[in-house]
Symmetry: C2
């Protein structure tokens, strides 16, 4: 008998028919004698509809009230799924995040999980129930409803798997796994059988939106093994797991793409100590999230700094922030470019295989893709390229690293 946590996304429970299919799948595992804890998102469309109604009442609704409102989406899902389970003669009980013992730090709309008290879930499991928990939500110490941010149901599942010492944590959705590249761009992309948390983290934060990055980070920190798979088939998906030696056999595991960033360059900044700190403090004060940062010396006494920010933050940058930076850094030369994309080569093997960067740059050069910015970490190389060349860059790199052949490290 295993203890299994399963998470179903909004599209997997998007209507009553799909809800029933999920119930049947859950029942299979329960019938086999496993203890099953199911985390469910709001039915697809529900959250967007509630947000639209809220906007009719206030341009910028209070975050406390948004949490109160949006938490109802998942609460409806868990009740519906419990009813569907009962319909198949399976014992089941639903719980809100608060009832499931998920305690958060109380920051509305982007709460962090502080603690999970799984006692109530344990009691319900002991009584032979399938336990159904509302994803995306918890309660603060003051018993205020708090939500974990978009995609927060993944985090709920991972955190529960850790707190309950689950044997398996499966994330079901409408994709059947993590691919070496987006199959819409690279038709010969392969499903990856096994990938490390670190790589998945780079893939997730770099735009392969299979799972919420925070959930993967949590899984890495608490050593939770995850599987991403389809809710429509019985095929195995992609295992996201602790790094193993075989994974390094292959230098590169995937190519990810993010088209939603913009590039900002501040040129001819006086090159004095602390200049970067001041710049990014100004930016941070405006709650603009910076992703890549690159600094170059341009000419004596001056430096250029480039960074990427979410494209959605660019208008705010241009109207408000740019002026502050001009004043703070005493420079006029601030340019922005939203016609860019970030293409990244990801793989833990990179650490032990040399020449990966060179191969990547050469391949892009051969394909006439101009690289505007480069940033690297231990396990990834990111290149900012013109938006129009994004797909070509992904295809080029996918081919350069032979990813169309089966890539999993464990075979």
């Amino acid at each position: 008998m295993a203890r299994i946590v399963q998470k179903y996304g909004g599209s997997s429970v998007g209507d009553t028919e799909r809800m029933k299919r999920v119930a049947q799948r859950v029942k299979q595992y329960s019938d086999e004698g496993h203890q099953v804890v199911v985390v469910v998102s709001a039915m697809s469309g529900t959250t967007d509809q509630l947000i639209a109604q809220a906007k009719e009442l206030h341009d910028n609704p209070s975050e406390r009230e948004m949490d109160m409102l949006l938490a109802t989406g998942e609460q409806q899902s868990v009740a519906f799924l419990a009813m569907a389970m009962h319909g198949y003669g399976c014992k089941a009980e639903s719980f809100t995040g608060a009832q499931a013992g998920i305690e958060t730090d109380g920051v509305h709309c982007k709460a962090r999980i502080k603690n999970i008290d799984p006692e109530r879930i344990e009691r319900s499991l002991e009584k032979g129930n399938v336990v159904i928990v509302a994803g995306f939500q918890g309660a603060s110490e003051e018993e205020l409803i708090t939500t974990l941010g978009r995609g927060g149901s993944d985090l709920t599942a991972v955190a529960l798997a850790a707190a309950l010492n689950a044997d398996v944590c499966r994330i079901y959705s409408d994709v059947d796994g993590v691919y070496t590249a987006d199959p819409r761009i690279v038709p010969e992309a392969q499903k990856i059988d096994r990938i490390s948390h670190e790589e998945m983290l780079e893939m997730a934060s770099l735009g392969t939106k299979v799972m919420q990055a925070r959930a993967i980070e949590f899984a890495r920190n608490f050593d939770v093994e995850l599987e991403v798979r389809s809710s429509e088939t019985d095929e195995p998906g992609t295992l996201i797991t602790r790094e193993s030696e075989e994974m390094e056999d292959k230098a590169v595991h995937g190519i990810s793409l993010d088209k939603d960033e913009a590039k900002i360059t501040i040129s001819r900044v006086p090159d004095t100590p602390g200049i970067a700190a001041r710049l990014f403090q100004v930016i941070a004060d405006s709650s603009v999230n910076v992703d890549l940062i690159v600094q170059n010396v341009s000419e004596q006494g001056y430096t250029d700094i480039s960074c990427t920010v979410p494209e959605a933050d660019l208008p705010r940058f241009e109207t408000d922030l740019a002026e502050k930076i001009r004043t703070e850094l005493n420079t006029d030369e601030i340019t922005s470019d939203k016609s860019i994309a970030k293409v990244s080569v990801v793989g833990v093997g990179m650490r032990t295989h040399s020449g990966i960067a060179a191969t990547a740059f050469q391949a892009l050069a051969d394909a006439d893709v101009n690289i505007k910015m480069i940033a690297t970490s231990e396990i990834k190389i990111s290149c900012v390229v013109p938006l129009d060349d994004a797909s070509k860059a992904v295809r080029t790199l996918h081919q350069a690293f032979g990813l169309a052949e089966k890539t999993s490290g464990d075979e």
Copy 2:
């Protein structure tokens, strides 16, 4: 400065426009310096839609899960109303029933309020907030979400008014008060300015569906003065209050009508002690609610017993219960009649005015309305009449007691 509890029904908050109008009305009172606690129902249609979805998943959904599901309707309403209040620059905080300290006995779908801990509401009021509480719901000691049954938001409002020592408790809806009779049947019916809890209770349980009967009972027990008024106008409505002497000046305050009952007659029951107890125990065991009961001696050694039950329970009665009663009471003569209506004359003054019953029966006789059953209490006289004669009976009695003239006891 007064402390005011206001309750808005589902149609008063049926869409975002109406939600905004409610917000403006609440703001008026808040601006005048009053402390305002608002109880809100689910937006009209929401509850029915959720029930319909539930039925797609299970013919007879678990009551625990129905509570989990339906409580989201009110939770959405309170968040929306808080946002609307913020939109008008008014401080407001929303609370679920559980957060508002409403503790119930844990009976799902028809919980009773056991206790209210108003501490959290008091703190929010002290901070200058309008406090918005989800009606219809609470939580059991085990922190399970429980609902109070249809119309339970009225009960929430009355119970909060009692717990908070409110000066005023106003029930807003799409009717502007309690009338001497249904204005659709008696166009000259008058709005009643002031009525006692006891009379209102008889009116409510006798089919004048302005307010939930349990809420009025609670108000009577805790001496909460209520006002029923329209959410669309600023007109005063009907005050439901402790009985006062002036109220007795007028013998009859209103005529109520209930068309949703059926009459059951069990004839030639052996007239032995305990026979009624056995009969109604059998009926109670099937959870059929009995309203009126009349027993007559028919011939020596035998008796007839008639009662009325909700028409909705009649099929259950005919298939299942009738057989049990035949066995238990050893009688074959069980008949039922759903083409009946119950017309009631209500007034606290009845106790001190004689001849009310005689006047009522004579008026019905003059109008050729056949009375099939009579039952009386201290402050009402109910007659069961043929369904086809129901409207005529109401009009006849309305006229017989001169109710078209202004009837309030306080003028």
